[in-house]
Amino acid sequence: MLKQLPGFRLDATLTAPTPGVIALFGRSGSGKSTLTNVIAGLLTPDVGTVTLDGEQLTDMRQGIVVPVERRRIGYVFQDARLFPHLSVARNLRYGERRRRAASTVSGFDEVVALLGLTPLLQKKPRQLSGGERQRVSLGRALLSQPRLLLLDEPLASLDVARREEVLPYLVALRDRLSIPMVYVSHQFEEVLRLATHLVLLEGGRVLAEGPVDEMSLYPALQDIIGPDLVGAVVEGLVTRVNTETGSAELALGTGTLQVSLRDVPVGARVRLQLLARDVILATQPVQGLSVRNALASTVIAIADDWFGAALVRVDVGGAIVLARITQDALRALRLRPGDAVWTLIKAVSTRGHTFTLAPGN
């Protein structure tokens, strides 16, 4: 699709797999919200098509623009946009009463319970905290029985503490409901916690898209999230849990990775970001180190990195991991693609970077 606004041009072709959570990720001004509004029908593109479940919603060549209210696409706005003159309960019922779906997927009681809205039902929007408002907005959108849920930076106007009033509920929605979601964000942590699929937008164009673990290796991602958050995302099943030490083991490629992780059962699927700056490479087996993981690996590629460092891509039994080392270290170890190395990962460095995934996605 193509959309030109004064001083801005969006040119994006995007095919989103459903179900799942697709993150539209990019800096502000990259076209995330414009794209979302085109999907919702709030903006009409100059050229292009929008298709959902095989139904043409927008086709500028044929002059088809299905009105917003008939698209059955839910929208959670950054500023919640609750109706100030209606109670929480009536806000929730607003969409439910106007639903255009033949069947009800999400019932009122179910949604209220899932989002923890019971104590808020009689309140007016102005009596709610920012996090509560977003939860109500989420429930209101769900009750209109959408085929797709758009979330436009729903956490951006909340402080860190308030974000935690919403994020766990979003994770629960992803895992319990089968509604595909498009999640707009410029916070990489939100992507790691929620998304199954990542679309990188820059200057109104789709830079790249793919599953989150693959996209974590994409070089230009660094320009958006900054060098310190660069790190390979790996996904695996928890194979062993030690509740006493707060550690767990998970399958990584053909090997096993020991991580700091509590409150996760054996068999859970987790996603883990190994920050490149925390990963150590060794050309020989090491002894007498506190590092819990020393994994036999092969160097795949070496790239120049931020501030003269090097980003080394290694294959750890089928999983790809990034390690950031200095140019001095690179010269001292004389690393070349194809070399065998040991990849050292501190178990404690994974704390706070491990997220549970929906079973089986």
Binding site: L42, E69, Y75, R81, F83, H85
Partner: protein, 231 residues
């Protein structure tokens, strides 16, 4: 010469109230429509319509009354049509006084309603759209309730101002005791009559009290509605 048993003060008060109520009832829906069109619609000639709506603010009221007479007088085209089709006569009747008052207070009402409509967040209407609300539904369920403070303020201000409309009423509806002799007309008549000073003073005080009461009521009402709406 006064046929009714009422005192002239009571009669004038009753007539003024009747005229003001009828004028507000008549013009309110139109004022909401005009405010919506002037705020939200984009069409050629919008500025002209805007100026036209505001014209009664700057015209001499006598001129407005005269134009109404030209349009709705007994022999005027619209007036004749109304009488043959509906049996309605406007000139020299209470209904005519209400019409003249409605025209004069229309800009006040539109301004107040517009002000509140401009404060209604278009984002809320977008949100309603994504929830499946069609245009009229959106207007009735979201826009109109949120405009309520302005609508009430406009209605009460127009009502208070309508109690005192003089020039347009006397020109279009004349000064008929018991029919179109509202408070200001009665006051004017008393001033013109020998020995009417005491009556004139009483009528003036009555107008003063009514106006003050109206404005206070408007303010209190608007505050209350704002609080209800959660603004």
């Amino acid at each position: 010469m006064n046929a009714s048993p009422e005192s002239p003060e009571l009669e004038a008060l009753r007539l003024s109230l009747e005229v003001a109520v009828r004028s507000v009832g008549f013009s309110l829906p139109l004022a909401v429509l005009a405010a919506w069109v002037l705020t939200r619609a984009r069409f050629p000639g919008r500025l002209l319509l805007d100026a036209f709506v505001h014209l009664p603010l700057v015209l001499p009221p006598v001129a407005v009354g005269y134009v109404l007479l030209l349009l709705f007088g007994a022999r005027a085209p619209l007036g004749a049509w109304l009488r043959t089709e509906f049996g309605v006569q406007l000139a020299f009747t209470t209904a005519g006084a209400a019409l003249a008052t409605a025209v004069m207070t229309f800009p006040l009402m539109v301004r107040a309603i517009r002000l509140s409509l401009e404060h209604v967040d278009l984002g809320l209407e977008d949100a309603a759209r994504t929830l499946g609300a069609a245009p009229l539904d959106r207007f009735l369920s979201i826009t109109l309730p949120l405009m309520l403070p302005g609508i009430l303020a406009g209605a009460v201000t127009a009502f208070a101002a309508g109690l005192g409309e003089f020039g347009a009423v006397i020109t279009f509806a004349s000064n008929v005791p018991g029919v179109t002799r509202t408070l200001p007309l009665a006051l004017y008549t008393a001033m013109q009559s020998p020995g009417g000073d005491a009556l004139a003073l009483r009528l003036a005080l009555l107008s003063f009290a009514l106006g003050l009461l109206g404005l206070l009521a408007a303010e209190l009402l608007v505050r209350r509605v704002r609080r209800y709406l959660g603004g």
